[in-house]
């Protein structure tokens, strides 16, 4: 019994803190941590994080995807499995980057082309460009349709510069170039860190 209680106390020693008996400031040891944290937490927006729901909106993070012949092409995805599913491209072009290693590769398929970038020697999808109106986005927009259809499908949250409407979602953008209310270019672009 005695042994047991000694063991128990030894355990308590682990959990709690037995300081020697101390004077004035004993309980008052209420210091602080870090100045720095002060700023950190506020800027990290922990304020919101602490109380808000944690179920991240998956859609939001996923980004725009293009689908061709049943193959999903997501931005920043690895290219190899996509080629495997899509088959060999009609045409292929690779461009050295000046001075540094790494190539930009372009794969031409019917109606669209895929550009890739190299990261750690693996090709990833950089962008998808539409070349004719035989393909359309998942939301049903194809080249040469009216611009109003874009607003219907993608909403009003775009940024506009010189006729280029850019929507952003997750790590991707979709860009519509509009001339005289007609969509003349559609491009998916990866946001690369």
């Amino acid at each position: 019994m005695k042994r047991l209680s000694i063991l128990l106390i030894a355990l308590l020693l682990l959990v709690a803190c037995a300081g020697p008996k101390e004077g004035l400031e004993e309980v008052v040891g209420n210091d602080q941590q870090k100045a720095v944290e002060d700023n950190k937490s506020s800027k990290q927006g922990k304020t919101d994080g602490a109380v808000e729901d944690n179920d991240n909106n998956g859609e939001e993070d996923k980004g725009f995807e293009f689908e061709a012949n049943g193959v999903v092409i997501a931005m920043n995805a690895e290219m190899a499995p996509i080629i495997e599913k899509l088959g060999d491209p009609m045409e292929y072009f690779e461009a050295d980057s000046c001075a540094f290693e790494g190539k930009e590769r372009m794969y031409y398929y019917s109606g669209f082309e895929i550009h890739t970038y190299e990261k750690e020697e693996i090709d990833h999808v950089q962008s998808v460009v539409f070349n004719d109106d035989s393909v359309s986005t998942k939301e049903g927009i194809s080249l040469y349709s009216d611009f109003s259809s874009v607003i219907d499908a993608y909403g009003e949250e775009y940024t506009l510069t010189e006729g280029l409407y850019i929507y952003e979602r997750g790590k991707s953008q979709i860009k519509f170039l509009v001339e005289d209310d007609e969509i003349v270019s559609i491009e998916y672009v990866a946001i690369v860190e």
Binding site: A18, V28, V36, N39
Partner: protein, 530 residues
């Protein structure tokens, strides 16, 4: 302007030179200008906040001072004719006038702090509750930027006004001197929280060029940068990888993250304070020490007397004592004493105050539940160990190990582990995650993974770990040398060759091994959040 930025280094270099060139009576004016310039770089709009605090505190201080003065004059002029009771009535009336000024000043300044720092936290909580009861929770967040260092300078300035109210010293008559006290730039970002009577002794003085001050100050600055740039900013890369993705990094990795964070926080915070005190030293100004080798503490209570000391004493002097000796607490004391027993009577007021203090301390650190829980956990541990005290005494009387070195080392390690574990609350994104991660250390047995190369996927290379290990050894060595007094003074008595070899090695180590610049972009990003 961060401490670890080229701009800041240029800024202080230029300041040091001008400071010792201009006539000495303008030195403090230069510091005021420099401080406001420093603050201007942080965000021009922030100047409004710090100016508001300065002006309001100045006015309140002067008014309280005037009341106190006229009270003293009145009492000495009418010493003879007033009875004791009349004096008391007069004094109470004056006191309540002063109290109103103090209260107005406190409400105004803590009000600013509350609005900029805590309104979004409150809104988030209201929204959450409203959602829980079926509402929409639709209050939108305020978009207010948090002025740099507002928690620090507000506390420092409120300490001043409370002291003036208590009659500890008379108020500063020169508003620009008060402005310098509020905004003194080296301590603006992360403390220490100085006291006016202490800092003003050297802050407004004329400082001749003294080789020893400059040399010691510069050494301290270099040492601070070493801790911050070589150690803290490097290990931060791994810490951020670990805590940003708690789903992946469980068990052993949670433990590693916990220990790394303790290491990072120590190097970062004490390094920053070294830079602060070093800068002040070069300027001939003495700023209070904020740390006393905290990781050698044998208990959490002791740790809190050795870590961020100026913050702790602030809470003690301006919150804990007033609270625990307030009228309300005395009533509670009396009540429990009479109706229960003296033991409880002694404890309950103190514990209530302690809990409030820790709640506030948590809140001060950050406006989230993480920090509140973190504060209360500290409180919990301290209260528990206090209550278990008789048990420990009994234990020690049975098992005589209390004074062996082994036991002391055990105490130190236990304390560091414990405080690191509590600190997990300020790592992870919310309270439940923290509990889950803590639990995973005991339920997820992936400790073998630490040795299969996954440690190299955290953003640090083998070379980085080498640097960190070396850094840890140096930190430990310096801490041990510190037990014999100032490291710099001990160094100064060594032969030139050894001294300079050490200074240069440290300086070059920062230049080469510092985790700054391109290639550390990600850490730069994280860094900005501090």
């Amino acid at each position: 302007m961060l401490f670890a930025s080229y701009n800041f280094i240029v800024f202080i270099s230029v300041l040091f030179i001008i400071y010792y060139i201009i006539p000495k009576k303008y030195q403090w004016v230069l510091l005021l200008l420099a401080s406001y310039l420093f603050y201007f770089f942080a965000g021009p709009s922030y100047l409004i906040y710090i100016a508001a605090t300065t002006i309001s505190t100045y006015i309140a201080g002067r008014m309280i001072g005037n009341i106190a003065q006229s009270q003293a004059r009145y009492l000495s002029e009418h010493k003879k004719e007033l009875t004791r009771g009349e004096k008391r009535v007069y004094r109470d009336r004056q006191k309540s006038k002063m109290w109103r000024w103090l209260l107005a000043c406190l409400l105004f300044n803590f009000g600013i702090l509350a609005v900029v720092k805590y309104s979004n936290f409150v809104i988030a909580n209201i929204n959450h509750i409203s959602k829980a009861v079926g509402g929409t929770g639709g209050f939108s967040f305020w978009n207010i930027a948090l002025p740099m260092g507002i928690s620090f300078y507000t506390f420092q300035t409120m300490g001043y006004i409370i002291d003036v109210y208590r009659g500890k010293y008379s108020p500063e008559k020169n508003i620009f001197k008060l402005a310098l006290f509020v905004s003194f730039f080296p301590q603006l970002v992360q403390g220490p929280i100085s006291r006016f009577d202490d800092l003003s002794q050297t802050l407004f003085k004329e400082h001749p060029f003294e080789y020893r001050n400059i040399s010691f100050g510069l050494q301290r600055i270099v040492w601070g940068y070493f801790k911050k740039v070589v150690i803290a900013d490097r290990i931060m890369v791994a810490v951020n990888t670990l805590i940003k993705d708690p789903e992946t990094y469980q068990g052993a990795f949670a433990l590693v993250g916990m220990l790394f964070y303790a290491f990072q926080l120590y190097a970062d915070f004490t390094g920053g304070i070294d830079i602060t005190i070093g800068i002040a030293e070069v300027l001939g100004i003495k700023v209070k020490e904020n740390f006393d080798r905290p990781y050698f503490s044998k208990s959490i209570a002791e740790y809190w007397r050795r870590w961020h000391i100026t913050m702790g004493t602030w809470f003690r002097d301006y919150l804990f004592y007033p609270l625990s000796t307030s009228k309300g607490m005395m009533k509670i004391y009396k009540f429990t004493r009479q109706h229960f027993n003296p033991y409880l009577g002694k404890r309950i007021p103190v514990y209530i105050s302690t809990i409030i203090v820790w709640f506030t301390t948590g809140l001060w650190h950050g406006s989230s539940w993480n920090f509140i829980v973190w504060g209360l956990m500290n409180c919990f541990v301290i209260v528990i160990s206090q209550e278990l005290e008789p048990l420990y005494s009994w234990f020690h009387s049975k098992v005589r190990i209390g004074n062996t070195i082994g036991f002391r080392v055990f105490q130190v390690i236990r304390t560091v582990l414990l405080l690191s574990a509590i600190r997990m609350f300020d790592c992870y994104r919310d309270v439940p995650t923290t509990f889950r991660m803590f639990g995973s250390m005991f339920t997820v047995f992936n400790y073998r993974e630490l040795f299969n190369g996954s440690m190299l996927n955290l953003g640090l290379s083998m070379a980085d770990y080498g640097v960190l290990l070396l850094g840890l050894v140096i930190l430990l060595t310096v801490s041990l040398v510190q037990r014999k007094g100032s490291v710099r003074a001990q160094l100064a008595s060594r032969p030139h060759l050894i001294r300079y070899a050490i200074y240069y090695a440290l300086l070059i180590a920062i230049l080469i091994f510092g985790a700054y610049g391109v290639g550390y972009d990600s850490s730069q990003f994280i860094y900005n959040q501090f």
